[in-house]
């Protein structure tokens, strides 16, 4: 029987389930004229959820349902940013969705369901909970990608996403079953992550355990979108409606970090000397492939997809250090990345209008002449992604590089910096297009007049500058979560 303590620990998630059901009901029964109110209701729902997460956060790690669910500081940070950025995506999405006649309750409900999946996943204390959260996130994401079902690209992207993602979850599950089996050989079988930590010491089938680890790594690699498991990313980024791309680019990466940390450190921490080199190899592949292929992209969304691949390589740089400093650096990086990509896509959404996606890099030509403020915000996002001080992205890179050097992986850090200046080119190219090129003849630039959108976007992009000038508190928060 669940106790009151269990319920209280799970309160933010339970509240969100109830709230989503309410949103669905409201969507069905509201008068059409009042339906736009759903937007503000959904944002309020998310803000209340953030409040519940922060206010109810126990000082010590709390577990519920016999360790199935863990509520610690890592989960707290990830949830706060996942919910916050989901709310930001709502603000960015509204004019876009209205223009394309996609505005409706199902968008909000699916997004909140996906965010709920993220919350469950990052709080998982058990292999089953991880899968539960992942399934909730993935299923909602498939539907979200295909939301614009009459267009050509979205269904295609959704099918690709679904097939590859199903394969990857299959791998993950298969790996989990092996790990479960290995834990049963020579002891009591267990799915609990904390108990899995230490199976290596007694199991009579260590090779099975390691094989399971490899399969799980494939699943993690897919969720993070690191090479060579990255093939889905460009197509999904390109095909999905831009707000959904923003969500997948920002929030899903937070979730994937949570997944990787829970599985690798909490569950398999004692095998770190096995998975460290594998992560280092994945990191190298992502950094090289992501940065090189991004150079030749002409579509902004596809470029951002390859840029994501390279950035996830940096996250792996921190993870593969397998130290609390490394994890906190990786968490810092993934938060930073979420904010940067949200800002970049936000500018795209501000400029998009009915029949015009603003998704080609050439669509930004001469933006500085037509809309200097938006060009400036994009400039901040691009310099931050490129890792130029004093912007936020630079400090995140410094932290993961430092973690890698600290873990005696100087060569990996050098790969990191060498690929950083390869990557520099395509970010600078976007700035070049915006600032140095003249706008095309007859090109119309229409900046959305939605006040909330403009304000939130400005805050988002300026945060990259502000956090770049003063990143101490955020780092301290991340470090405390891992007990540095």
């Amino acid at each position: 029987m669940p106790t009151l303590y269990d319920i209280l620990t799970l309160l933010p998630e339970l509240y969100l389930v109830a709230a989503v059901c309410l949103i669905l009901l409201l969507d069905a029964f509201m008068k059409p004229a009042q339906r736009p109110q759903l937007h503000w209701i959904s944002i309020a729902v998310l803000l209340v959820a953030i409040y519940l997460v922060v206010a109810g956060q126990p000082e010590q790690t709390a577990t519920a349902f016999n360790g199935m669910f863990v509520r610690d500081h890592v989960a707290e940070i990830l949830k706060v940013f996942a919910l916050g950025i989901t709310a930001v995506v709502f603000v960015y999405a509204r004019p876009y969705m209205i223009d394309r006649k996609l505005f409706g309750g199902e968008f909000y409900a699916l997004m909140i369901f996906a965010a709920l999946g993220v919350m469950v996943m990052v709080s998982a204390g058990n292999l089953v909970t991880i899968y539960l959260g992942l399934a909730l996130l993935s299923l909602s994401s498939y539907a979200l990608v295909a939301l614009n079902r009459d267009a050509r690209l979205p269904p295609e992207a959704a099918i690709k996403y679904f097939v590859l993602s199903a394969l990857a979850s299959g791998m993950l599950l298969y790996g989990m079953s092996m790990v479960y089996g290995a834990s049963g050989m020579g002891g009591t079988p267990t799915l609990d992550l904390a108990q899995l930590h230490g199976v290596m010491a007694y199991t009579t089938a260590p090779k099975l355990l390691l094989l399971g680890l490899i399969f799980m790594l494939v699943g993690i690699g897919f969720e993070l979108g690191v090479a060579p498991f990255h093939m889905w990313l460009p197509d999904v980024y390109h095909g999905a409606p831009t707000p959904v791309t923003t969500f997948i680019g920002a929030v899903s990466k937070l979730a994937a970090f949570g997944l990787a940390w829970r599985l690798l450190e909490v569950g398999m921490g004692d095998l770190s000397h096995y998975w460290q080199p594998m992560l280092a190899a994945l990191a190298t592949a992502s950094l090289v492939i992501g940065n090189l292929v991004a150079i030749v992209q002409t579509n902004f969304k596809r470029m951002m997809a390859y840029s994501t691949i390279s950035h996830m390589g940096y996250v792996l740089l921190g993870l593969s250090a397998a130290t609390p400093e490394g994890y906190s650096a990786a968490l810092f990086y993934v938060i930073c990345y979420a904010l940067m990509s949200a800002a970049a896509f936000g500018v795209m959404l501000v400029l998009a209008r009915a029949g015009f996606e603003c998704e080609e890099i050439s669509d930004f030509k001469g933006l500085n002449q037509k809309a200097p403020w938006m060009a400036f915000l994009m400039l901040l996002a691009m310099f931050s992604l490129a890792g130029v001080p004093p912007l936020f992205g630079f400090w995140a890179k410094v932290l993961v590089l430092e973690a890698a050097i600290h873990a005696d992986m100087l060569w990996l850090a050098i790969v990191g910096v060498v690929t950083a200046f390869i990557g520099l080119y395509y970010y600078l190219y976007v700035i070049k297009v915006m600032y140095f090129d003249a706008p095309e003849e007859g090109a119309v630039v229409e900046v959305k007049t939605d006040t909330s959108l403009r304000v939130v976007l400005s805050v988002n992009a300026l945060a990259l500058l502000a956090l770049g000038l003063y990143w101490g508190p955020l780092l301290a928060w991340c470090q405390r979560a891992f007990g540095v």
Partner: protein
């Protein structure tokens, strides 16, 4: 105010860029006046730096603000004599650059002025940071306004030039970042004074040395990584060229003085010959390259590379003199000469680029063959042009002479061969500069371009007077400048004499 003087100097232009931007393209005159007022205010405030006491402790006007406590990074600022001289040069050039661009920049002047102010603040930051991470942040951030500056207001191949500049310099700096992070592992701090005292093995020092050297050599720039500079100079607007030549190149040599000398003295001594050889190649070979240029800006750009060769020569010769001969006096002299050369080159090259800008604004060509007989149309301009050309080839009485002479004098003690090659500059430098003057200024008016040249405006005259005063003052009476930097140079020579293994 004196407790936060350096912070004020850094942030006044940077924060001042915001109202200039807000003035917008609708009110260009307001943007210009605001920018000018801010640079003048910065210069006036920077005059307080003259309170620096050369007899006192080396680092003065210290400021420490806790920045990132969990990482032990402090926002620490302080200046020694060398920084004071460089900051004063920066704030002075800042005014001239803004005034020089007054009418020339008609396309989005507010953004141009804001870029200028940002550059000024960031460069001042480079010269007063005493925490390696803070230094690095300023050092790299300088690229952002520079990238925009050349890309937006540059010539026809501006995009190529500005991308090349950014990628070249960024590439070098990331290796420095790795070196700094490695040092952080050992010392758990980025404080430069602590890093200077950190014992390091020869192998570590060698790696760190090359990490730093790549970063700074590209910025200086030294042969063979100098190729970005002619491109950037040719395409940059006049103001951009002036900043680039006058101040930005100096942050490379300044970085060497701040990082390589104190942190890796043993590796520095061991590998000094590499830098010395490259410096001599720059002085001699790049001098010849300058001789054949057909574009005035390219010529001056190559002559900048050659002159910066003197600075690197002076700095690294000190290793040879101290480590091999124990000749501290001569080492100080050479180092002193290098520092004077930095300041002098800042004014001379800035002035040369301004002169070229003045002609370019009238004719819209930088090809030497399009000129000839300019003196007939612009006599007063000719006066200034000849003065700066003389300074460029190191005529006594101008600032160009002082530094080069000191370096050559010191190099004789190190090795007559070095002195021989270094002295070549007097011939080659005179060759390309005087030939340039001959082809541009003298002779009859032969081309259409020159026929329509108009005399200088008062604004242009005042800008050139500003440069001329600086060039002559240092040339005629260099003692205050040398005295200002004396104890700092002595301290540097001490630092490079320390064995850290």
């Amino acid at each position: 105010m004196f407790n936060h003087l350096l912070s004020l100097l850094i942030w006044l232009p940077i924060v001042g860029a915001v109202p200039v931007l807000l003035a917008g393209s609708a009110r260009p005159m307001l943007a210009r006046w605001l920018a000018l007022l801010i640079t003048i205010a910065t210069f006036v405030i920077s005059l307080w730096l003259l309170r620096y006491d050369p007899e006192g402790s080396v680092m003065q006007l210290q400021e420490t603000h806790v920045w990132i406590s969990t990482w032990g990074v402090h926002f620490t600022l302080a200046v020694d004599g060398i920084s004071v001289a460089l900051i004063l040069m920066t704030t002075f050039v800042g005014i001239l650059v803004i005034a020089g661009a007054w009418k020339v920049i008609q396309n989005r002047p507010h953004q141009y002025m804001a870029c200028m102010l940002l550059l000024e603040g960031l460069l001042i930051g480079v010269f007063c940071a005493t925490d390696a991470l803070v230094f690095y942040a300023f050092f790299e951030a300088v690229l952002i306004p520079m990238y925009i500056l050349i890309g937006m207001w540059g010539g026809p191949r501006r995009v190529y030039a500005t991308l090349k500049l950014f990628i070249y310099t960024f590439t070098g700096s990331v290796f420095m970042l790795i070196a700094l992070l490695y040092l952080y592992q050992k010392a758990h701090t980025f404080d430069l004074a602590t890093l200077a005292a950190l014992p390091l093995t020869m192998k570590e020092q060698a790696w760190l040395f090359f990490g730093f050297l790549i970063a700074f050599a590209i910025k200086v720039p030294m042969v063979p990584v100098h190729t970005w500079l002619p491109d950037a100079h040719v395409e940059a607007p006049t103001g951009g060229s002036v900043w680039l030549a006058a101040v930005m190149l100096k942050i490379g040599t300044y970085g060497m003085v701040r990082f390589i000398l104190p942190i890796t003295p043993d590796a520095g001594a061991h590998f000094a010959w590499i830098v010395i050889v490259l410096s001599l190649v720059a002085i001699v070979y790049i001098g010849y390259v300058a001789l054949v240029q057909e574009d005035m800006k390219k010529l001056v750009a190559y002559s900048s590379v050659a002159h910066m060769g003197f600075v690197t020569l002076g700095i690294f010769m000190a290793f040879m003199l101290v480590r091999e001969g124990g000749n501290t006096d001569m080492a100080s002299l050479g180092m002193q000469g290098a520092m004077v050369q930095m300041i002098s080159h800042g004014f001379v090259s800035g002035a040369m680029f301004t002169c070229i800008g003045v002609m370019y604004d009238r004719t819209h060509t930088r090809q030497i063959k399009d000129y000839g007989g300019v003196i007939n149309m612009m006599p007063w301009f000719g006066l200034f042009y000849v003065l700066f050309a003389m300074a460029n080839c190191g005529l006594p009485g101008t600032s160009g002479f002082v530094g080069e002479f000191m370096v050559i004098l010191a190099s004789f003690s190190a090795s007559p061969w070095i002195a021989l090659f270094a002295t070549f500059t007097l011939i080659i430098g005179a060759g390309y500069t005087l030939w340039l003057v001959k082809r541009v200024l003298w002779g009859p008016v032969t081309t259409e371009h020159v026929k329509h040249m108009t005399p200088m405006t008062p604004r242009e005259t005042w800008v050139l007077i500003g440069f001329a005063v600086a060039v002559l003052a240092i040339g005629v009476w260099p003692q205050p400048l040398i005295h200002l930097m004396d104890s700092s140079v002595a301290h540097l020579v001490q630092q490079l004499a320390v064995h850290k293994i």
